[in-house]
């Protein structure tokens, strides 16, 4: 096979005035603008592009398009590039894949010599013993992995996505697809036409017939004049529920690849047909090529595919290829007509070339064997829509069966016909699509609250009155009288499939799994029907009886970058964030929040709070504004304790349990006014508690009058904690008497702070210190924080972060939901049984909590290691003596700067929960230490004197 560049062709897509330089396999090459990588290489005389996966056989060009299993190359850091599709760019550094040490001399080609042992599934039958050696075998086998190389330093470049809501999406811009798009647009539909190739036109592009060229220019002109949005080098990768489509656009000007997500009202599937290889001895030899590839090479890129050709033709495309060859001066040594029952039996020659073709016992010298044996119908999108295509033996291919009525097929997929017939069918399909889309649009608009009011009745669902396309007879050509390769990308031959079927792997799915046929780069586009045919033959059944496999998305592979797109990862910050950043904060990610963890020395922050006063930004604390007369009922229902008699100005702690009695959340709720409360939740529970509240109100108690508004970030929440907090707060607060008598622990007031009116201030504290939690309208949060910092300079005020707060809450013995509790921790395990009021009429989880009251449950207890200098890790297990029997675990632990010793919370079996119980804690180092359960949860200030001060 000697390929070279022809003189200018009337249909060619290359610009011979623009030369592009690139490298292939380390050598310099040239091509033209408009060339694919493969066409440029072919024009330069290259004819071996890769080595096969298993036997490392040299491989040439087969289909010269996206699906060509032999044209996967590495371009720079981009592996598995389709050289038959990717346009050549100046400076490309292209390498063959799957070759070692080189394309020309591949040592693994020796595998070919042992091919008879490497039968289907051979690896299941060996390497069993010894089991220990399998990893070694595995490493060797892994070196046979096909494909290119990833460069792990490749950045995730700019990808973004787009959502569209077209009336009609047409997948495939051949003549039928274009007509469908034009007709739909003419009927007023918003249409997107998606073409996998670099230009519209389908098979008209590489036809040298005058009529085809005229038709193509006509269609192009009509498209230009229409409102159809045309996406070339783009593929509808999948059809998902309710006509949700993935479209990958590979030629977007600013995005490397753009994923478009389309909610199409109607999808028109018009991908045309994919030419199917024929199975015979040597059918994977360089020089054996499909008729479509020959026509593309000649007509699109002006490449002469060989010198002396044999054409095996069973259809007009094959005949046209023979004519093209003849026209450009390739000697057509023989035409083997498949329609007359003739078959090509073998392609012969040295490994890297074709020398002769054998058919009907006759040997013909040739360097090119063109095969036109029929088509595979790429029904993927229809399959994804739930259709089960049916096989028609007379036409020798599958046809759509009964797709949903918002998916319409046209073009070669739907049938055969003259160009005019195909165009007419396309146009009729476009009109039908537009009519149906208008009915969908009408309904969507009528149902959508925000949409323009729609007038008139919903249009009827238009009946399908298209004149069906005919079906041209075609011989069933799958395998010749010799065996050959079926899946070129997986190196699976017809013999392998027959053997697999005989072994019992005789359904398509089993045979596929066993042999890996159709699992490669083309995902069955080329090899599925031949696979089915081989199994049918082995089972003595018809193709229709064996059926076909399910085509799964995506239609064409797309990059992870395109799928990921621009990854949106929302982050939240409080109004005080700029101050934190300016003051040496170490942040921590808590869910979506970026929070201050500490400002350099958390222990010092704790000591400052204990001696002076500290400020912490607790904005992420969940806050729900509740308004209405039924709030006490709501709180009684959601919390385990009682809420009917909470006076205005008071705050109360509550624990929420789910219906299975497991602790869900906790927090305080304050009564701000007669019918006005503010509920706080844990930071991480803010969103879920809101939904939980809404669920109860909307579905169980719709008659209750309560309005719930999330106000978490409407307020900047600042906790002022420490013995000097009252002094500090009083310096900036007006309108409230802050004396302990007037404003006691667990009370709430509305105050003006640093000139900001409408701040809620409550006396609570997670820190076991006198503290004031101030909720400031968020637009003034930073101002109040800075005012407090300024006003407290002489008091030693300083910020503290989450870590300091965690230490102090542990000193106080407060448990954290989700850390000290887990997915099975029932309410009583927290030690808060007095807050579980089983005499209420109803509350969430009440029955389980009632039953739990009689059960022996694990308990949360405060624990102190006997060696005060040892801090057991959170998760360290509590075990029975020297045994491995697990009796509990440490859930929180810290070194307490206040007490100068290690302190913990843990969950233990009930018999160990009493104060004074000695425990054995297994450190992660393996060391066992002794520890003691203390009488109450609080390690520090158990009577809460500081808190109430």
């Amino acid at each position: 096979m000697t390929m070279s560049r022809l003189g200018s062709q009337p249909t060619e897509v290359i610009d011979r005035s623009t030369t592009l330089r690139f490298r292939w396999n380390g050598k310099r090459f040239r091509g033209f603008e408009g060339d694919t990588i493969a066409s440029a290489l072919a024009a330069a005389g290259e004819h071996v592009f890769s080595r096969s996966m298993k036997y490392h056989r040299p491989r040439g060009m087969l289909t010269a398009d996206f699906w060509d299993p032999n044209l996967l190359v590495q371009v720079g850091d981009d592996p598995n590039v389709r050289a038959g599709h990717r346009l050549l760019e100046s400076g490309m550094d292209v390498h063959p894949q799957n070759v070692w040490p080189s394309l020309r001399h591949d040592i693994k080609a020796a595998n070919g010599l042992v091919a008879r042992f490497l039968t289907a599934g051979f690896y299941y039958k060996t390497f069993m013993r010894p089991q220990k050696l399998w990893p070694t075998y595995e490493r060797v086998l892994a070196t046979f992995a096909p494909g290119g190389k990833v460069d792990l330093d490749t950045p995730h470049r700019y990808h973004d996505k787009r959502y569209v809501h077209p009336d009609v999406v047409v997948a495939g811009a051949g003549p039928a697809g274009i007509e469908a798009a034009l007709a739909a647009a003419a009927a007023g539909a918003r249409v997107i036409l998606v073409e996998h190739e670099h230009a519209v036109g389908g098979h008209l592009r590489y036809s040298s017939a005058e009529s085809a060229r005229t038709a193509l220019s006509e269609l192009r002109a009509a498209l230009d004049a229409s409102d159809v949005e045309v996406l070339t080098d783009s593929t509808v990768t999948g059809r998902y529920e309710d006509n949700w489509l993935g479209i990958v656009q590979r030629n977007h000007p600013i995005a490397v690849e753009r994923l478009i997500k389309a909610r199409a009202k109607v999808l028109v599937v018009a991908p045309g047909l994919i030419e199917r290889p024929f199975v015979f001895a040597g059918n994977d030899r360089p020089g054996v090529i499909t008729s479509g590839a020959v026509r593309r090479l000649i007509n699109l890129w002006g490449v002469k595919p060989g010198e002396r050709a044999v054409v095996f033709s069973a259809n007009s495309e094959g005949d046209a290829a023979a004519a093209d060859l003849d026209r450009v001066g390739v000697e057509v040594a023989a035409v083997i007509d498949g329609r007359e029952g003739r078959r090509v039996s073998a392609a012969q020659g040295p490994p890297k070339a074709l020398e002769a073709v054998v058919a009907g016992g006759t040997r013909t010298d040739a360097d090119l064997l063109v095969v036109a044996a029929g088509w595979t119908a790429p029904t993927s999108l229809l399959n994804m829509a739930g259709d089960r295509p049916v096989y028609d033996p007379d036409a020798a291919r599958f046809f759509p069966s009964d797709p949903p009525s918002n998916v319409l097929a046209t073009g070669g997929l739907a049938g055969d016909g003259s160009l005019d017939e195909l165009r007419a069918h396309g146009a009729a399909t476009g009109r039908l699509a537009a009519q149906r889309a208008s009915a969908v649009a009408h309904r969507l608009q009528a149902r959508t609250a925000r949409a323009l009011e729609v007038t008139g009745d919903e249009p009827d669902w238009a009946a399908d009155e298209r004149t069906p396309l005919g079906r041209s007879p075609h011989p069933e050509l799958y395998r010749s009288d010799t065996h050959g390769m079926i899946d070129l990308s997986e190196d699976v031959g017809s013999k392998d499939l027959v053997a697999a079927a005989r072994e019992g792997y005789d359904s398509v799915e089993l045979a596929k799994r066993y042999t890996t046929a159709t699992m490669g780069s083309a995902q069955g586009k080329l090899e599925t029907v031949n696979t089915v045919a081989a199994i049918a033959e082995a089972r003595g059944e018809t193709i229709a009886q064996v059926g076909t496999t399910v085509w799964r998305p995506p239609y064409a592979p797309l990059t992870l970058g395109a799928l990921a797109g621009r990854v949106f990862e929302p982050v939240r910050v409080s109004s005080i964030h700029p101050w934190h950043e300016a003051n040496g904060v170490h942040t921590i990610l808590a869910g979506q929040w970026i929070r201050p963890d500490h400002y350099g020395d958390p222990a010092a922050e704790v000591r400052n709070v204990r001696t002076n006063v500290g400020l912490i930004d607790v904005t992420p604390l969940g806050k729900l504004d509740l308004r209405g007369p039924d709030i006490p009922n709501l709180l009684n229902l959601l919390y385990t304790n009682k809420w009917s008699k909470l006076p205005v100005g008071k705050v109360r702690y509550g624990m929420m349990c789910a219906e299975d009695g497991v602790v869900l959340d906790d927090g305080v709720t304050g009564r701000l006014g007669e019918d006005h409360y503010l509920m706080t939740t844990t930071s991480s529970g803010a969103a879920s508690v809101w939904e939980w509240v809404e669920n109860w109100l909307q579905t169980e108690r719709p008659d209750w009058r309560v309005h719930v508004t999330p106000v978490t970030t409407a307020y900047t929440s600042i906790n002022v904690a420490g013995p000097k907090s009252r002094e500090l707060v009083s310096r900036v607060t007006t309108g409230v008497d802050l004396s302990p008598e007037a404003f006691a622990y667990m009370e709430v007031r509305t105050a003006t702070v640093a000139g900001v009116a409408g701040c809620f201030m409550w006396r609570i504290g997670f820190t076991c210190e006198l503290s004031f939690e101030i909720h400031v309208p968020a637009g003034h949060g930073l101002h109040v924080w800075e005012a407090l910092m300024e006003a407290g300079a002489d008091l030693g005020v300083g910020p503290f972060g989450l870590e300091g707060q965690r230490i102090m809450r542990l000193e106080k013995g407060h448990f954290i939901v989700g850390q000290d509790t887990d997915g099975l921790t029932l309410g009583p395990s927290t030690g808060l049984s007095p807050l579980i009021k089983l005499d209420k009429d109803d509350f969430a989880g009440m029955p389980e909590l009632a039953w739990a009251a009689d059960r022996q449950l694990p308990m949360i207890v405060a624990i102190q290691p006997d060696d005060p200098g040892v801090v057991p890790e959170e998760a360290a297990q509590i075990v029975r003596g020297d045994t491995n029997e697990i009796l509990g675990r440490i859930t929180s632990s810290r070194m307490s700067p206040t007490l100068g010793r290690s302190i913990c919370l843990g969950q233990v079996e009930p018999e160990l929960a009493a104060g004074g119980t000695k425990l054995t804690v297994l450190l992660t180092s393996g060391q066992r230490i002794s520890a003691t359960v203390i009488d109450h949860h609080a390690h520090f200030d158990p009577d809460g004197e500081r808190l109430r001060g």
Partner: protein, 429 residues
């Protein structure tokens, strides 16, 4: 009825290769009889393992495994084939550790290369809370003799250089639970291996045999079904079979099959999706899991990256797959391994998972005598197949619940004694 198996070995492969001989059928194609000692519903890894161990350990060989499609057509052939034992609860660890032992000896036990690649298993922690759970798991594992430890980002980088262990990402890798005995297995080989070995001992495999009803007598429900009754047979699309024992080993249809016996289950069925990329040269030699990013990643010997995720949120029996799954997946994978953005997704698929409230299976006897379940596997089924088969077979043979599966009894949902795996199960691979 024992047959002499056609032994698999390198020598046999060479001999047949030289002679051009073909291999005999892996399992026979037999007539469906009218009666069996036991019928196993579901020809996946669980059903086949159950049948295998019934025959091998207990001599019960008059067993039919029925499947409505082909062997391994359900979750067995759709999972991502990860095995591990680093669970959170002692009962979970003991159970899966036994499974891992059986996987370790499976190739020789079944005389088929199941390609158990003990390549280690990394579960990444992106937050303090996750790190705490990893430590918890590691500690429980160590106490049970299972090799697990928490490692830092530097060690992670050495094991999996493709991971971005810097502190730049939105979800930085703070540490990982490293479990060296974890790995991947060729799932189809496990299916075929059990089927072939069971066949050799006389068990029959019946494909395209769909169970339409379970025949019962004496129960408190209609047609003698329900509590207090006993099983008398199954009705299939190929006729009725009488049998005193029916074992429900299905996934995805567990609730529907159990309902045929009048047994209601704590199960909702959700799709679990997976995807595979085109192959590239091997660069990842371990299994990587991120719970908070809902993704797990391994690279096969063929060079493909296999990805999985958490189950889809909406309960459904439809398994068409979704675009949003691949989008989320790719985003999360690139968060972990930004260098592979040019790799291409080749194929996506999904299977059905039966989710239980405590992320643990439902195993053993039911209120209907002779009707046993091995269901509710959620996303863990493949890992548990050998031990499940072994233990359920023991339950059938002895009439007693083996200790290893006692925590997973259906009755726990009557008493509220759920299993504590929920804590660690945001994504369970």
């Amino acid at each position: 009825m024992r047959r002499r198996p056609a032994k698999y070995s390198a020598a046999a492969l060479a001999w047949r290769g030289l002679r051009g001989d073909s291999w005999p059928r892996v399992w026979r194609d037999t007539e469906l009889k009218r009666s069996y000692d036991a019928v196993v519903v579901g020809g996946g890894v669980h059903g086949l393992a159950t049948a295998y161990y019934l025959a091998r350990n207990h001599g019960i060989t008059d067993v039919a495994v029925v499947d409505k499609a082909y062997l391994g057509s359900g979750a067995s052939g759709r999972n991502t084939a990860i095995v591990r034992a680093n669970y959170l609860t002692p009962e979970g660890v003991a159970f899966y550790d036994r499974s891992l032992q059986l996987y370790n000896s499976m190739a020789t036990d079944l005389n088929i290369n199941v390609m158990f690649s003990e390549r280690g298993h990394l579960t990444l922690a992106h937050s303090d809370a996750a790190l705490r759970t990893m430590n918890w798991r590691a500690e429980v594992n160590k106490l049970q003799g299972v090799n697990s430890s928490v490692i830092d980002p530097d060690e992670i980088k050495k094991i999996a250089p493709a991971l971005d262990t810097s502190d730049h990402p939105r979800h930085p890798i703070l540490g990982a639970l490293y479990h060296p005995p974890g790995g991947i297995v060729r799932h189809d080989a496990v299916v075929w291996g059990y089927a072939r070995a069971a066949d050799h001992m006389g068990v029959e495999m019946h494909q395209k045999t769909e169970v339409l009803d379970i025949l019962c007598t004496g129960g408190d429900g209609p047609d003698g079904k329900g509590a207090g009754g006993r099983v008398t047979g199954v009705r299939t699309n190929r006729g009725d079979i009488s049998t005193p024992v029916v074992v429900n080993c299905t996934a995805g249809w567990a609730g529907l099959i159990s309902a045929m016996a009048g047994v209601r289950l704590p199960i909702t069925t959700h799709p679990l999706q997976a995807a595979v990329t085109e192959p590239v040269k091997v660069f990842l030699n371990t299994v990587v899991v991120s719970g908070s990013l809902h993704v797990y990643i391994s690279q096969t010997d063929r060079g493909e990256l296999v990805f999985g995720a958490a189950v889809d949120p909406v309960a459904t029996y439809s398994i068409r797959g979704s675009l949003e799954f691949t989008e989320e997946l790719a985003g999360h994978v690139l968060e972990l391994m930004p260098g592979i953005s040019r790799m291409r997704l080749l194929r996506q698929w999904s299977g059905l998972c039966d989710m239980t409230p405590d992320y643990s299976p439902v195993m053993g006897f039911t209120p209907v005598d002779g009707f046993l379940v091995d269901v509710g596997w959620g996303t863990y089924g493949f890992k548990a197949a050998p031990v499940s088969g072994e233990q359920i077979a023991a339950a059938v043979a002895t009439g007693k619940t083996p200790e290893l599966i006692a925590p997973f009894a259906l009755s726990r949902f009557d008493t509220g004694d759920l299993v504590g795996e929920k804590g660690a199960a945001a994504v369970g691979h």
